[in-house]
Point group: C2
Chain length 393, copies 2
């Protein structure tokens, strides 16, 4: 595949416009309302949170994505519009009506996403005014849109690739906290000017989500608002085959999901957990997730402590099939346990030194089969606790 | 039931002797080898970790408990003897041989437990010498024994009750970190001078463990060494009925498990999570556990933030059957969500103020059935992260 990394995000493909404005939802005065619009009707696909407390915008968008066609999405940060009952649903629909009116398209073709504090109502006057302003400023503003969807993110997240066949895929995302996507990350939007049927787009998006956003975890908490949307408007005139589309989506989503992990709340390490030698892929994913979500493994990473016993205990907790007497574990590239036998203090010290880097890999071989999986995660820091004890936007 | 709380621990019942000595396993020089012995053969029952990486002493004791009779247990702290392969098993057996020799009883009637760092071998010279010394000092030393089994615990944990019928139940325990017992806490030992058949003792102990040690969680990590043992030596001559025995075991284990939560690593809050209105007891336990183990709920507790949205999101993550649009949530006794409708900022502020206490209750009604469950837990503090980033005994 000859994909070329390129600058920009959702506006890198032809025929997509975006805007981000400050509507006053965040006390800080930072941008908090974004619009992403296709100049022509687009195929659409979506992957949504599996949290049973799905936010109002998730319910509205999930229903509309089923139609397979859309003109765009309106997004706000600063308020999740989750646990808001009937009024929350009305507010979510009203956001699409405000956007539809401003853009001159049917409200039913507009999707909606929210992110921020759970359990409060949207200040609809401010939101509607913000949507109107955003519509009047639409342009090549993917940076502004990426900024307007941020909560505790410290940097906007954009990615784009160009295919030699004359079409592109671009995306923006936000992450930071309550990140253990189980279908998608909190919010991510991907566009392409290739022509792609809705059913094909949906199938590709689901597979890509499993390999990218669903393979990262920061704190093991799946949000009520997770949404990943993909729009394909065909503006380039190119009709790439299914494999090419999926590879390009994968490249963009992989970049966005790595950016989310790097910008996790209070994070000091980017951690790759690789489990090999599993009986099934499910077992490999489960074991990797138990390692990645163990509080004790995460604090050891923060302390740069090659405490492989905590890794072994996490695998034992996962209950997967494994040769528990014969595990092999490496930390930061140094093998500290080989077939169940410890490599001694020199190896521990070498691993400890290697763990001072910002990127650390934990590898664990279960010794029973051919399957493997990778989960990306972070350490657990005192700063994470401080940030989440005093959460305010 | 007319149980009378009394002082002491495992030596409160007649015919049990204990000792705790410093054998040099901990760098600090604190006590690290304990013996608990029945002056006469006793019925024994045990509940062990479900972590598949079971430590060597767990494997040895599990096999021996099946015989139903025992003379006592030898315990060390400072080294978990877990992930230590064949040599670990030999070392665990050698500990029982040293104790058997010193006590003049068959080694096969002695059980063994270890707690501490995973993945290093026991310094057997020191351990054997310590066991010999402990055997020569046996007496009414349950305080010393409770101290010798501590790792990062800050206080020893003892409990005892007396029954008017002339028999007693006593216990000691240790906890602190890697606490999400799944069969038992890290280490707990309960004695009674009532006469109880092994099968009855085992059945009662399993039910009591589910209601006490298996209903607490500090960090969601189940240890490789969790062990709960009960000894009944009949020294009082009393033969209470099964219900009385179970009630007395429950009183002692309930006290010990609460002491473990109160002394959790870096803890600032003792938290009771109560889920009601669940379709089944399994659902109630699962939802309560998801709330209790959510990193975001725990950091909100540390920050004294009545963030009920995180509680609702945790329940949504658990996937249990619930009226997700109609949840009712109280925090620190203040109802903040009623049938899905928020009670507003005054209630949030009142809850926030009430959360400044050291003991906080979170209640969540699922609105679909009659079942309920309670899980005891703690907040997640910056001190917890610091302690576990630099773990050393």
């Amino acid at each position: 595949m000859n994909l070329i990394g390129t600058t920009g995000g959702v506006c890198a493909p032809e025929g997509f416009l975006a805007a981000g404005v400050s509507a006053g939802l965040k006390r800080s005065g930072a941008a908090d309302v974004a619009l992403l619009v296709s100049a022509r009707p687009a195929s659409v696909a979506g992957v949504f949170t599996r949290n049973k407390v799905a936010a109002a915008p998730v319910r509205v968008s999930r229903e509309r994505v089923a139609a397979g066609a859309s003109r765009g999405v309106v997004i706000n940060s600063g308020c999740a519009n989750a646990c808001t009952g009937q009024q929350g649903l009305s507010d979510a629909v009203a956001m699409t009506e405000a956007a539809g009116d401003a853009l001159g398209v049917p409200a039913g073709e507009i999707l909606v996403c929210s992110t921020g504090l759970i359990g409060s109502f949207l200040p609809m006057d401010k939101v509607s005014a913000g949507i109107g302003r955003a519509a009047s400023m639409l342009g090549d503003h993917d940076q502004a849109a990426a900024q307007a969807i941020m909560t505790t993110d410290t940097v906007p997240k954009l990615a784009a690739v160009a295919h030699p066949g004359g079409w592109r895929v671009g995306g923006i995302a936000k992450g930071a906290g309550m990140i253990s996507p189980n279908m998608a990350t909190m919010l991510a939007f991907v566009t392409t000017d290739a022509e792609v049927e809705p059913a094909l787009l949906q199938a590709a998006l689901r597979r890509v989500a499993d390999k990218t956003f669903n393979s990262i975890t920061i704190d093991g908490d799946t949000s009520t608002n997770d949404t990943l949307l993909a729009f394909a408007n065909g503006a380039s005139g190119a009709r790439p085959d299914a494999g090419e589309v999926e590879a390009a989506l994968l490249a963009v989503c992989d970049s966005l999901s790595r950016q989310i992990v790097s910008d996790g709340e209070g994070v000091s390490k980017f951690v790759t957990v690789r489990v090999t030698g599993a009986a099934t892929e499910q077992d490999a994913v489960r074991a990797a997730r138990f390692i990645a979500e163990s509080t004790l493994v995460k604090t050891a990473l923060f302390g740069e402590d090659a405490n492989w016993g905590r890794v072994a205990a996490a695998v034992g907790n996962s209950g997967v099939h494994a040769r528990f007497d014969g595990l092999t574990i490496s930390m930061a590239g140094v093998q500290v346990l080989t077939g169940g036998a410890g490599e001694g203090m020199d190896a521990i010290e070498a691993a400890r030194a290697a763990m001072s880097r910002n990127e650390v890999t934990i590898e664990c071989d279960l010794g029973v089969g051919p399957s493997e999986a990778v989960i990306l995660t972070t350490d657990l820091t005192a700063d994470y606790v401080r940030l989440n004890a005093e959460y305010e936007l």
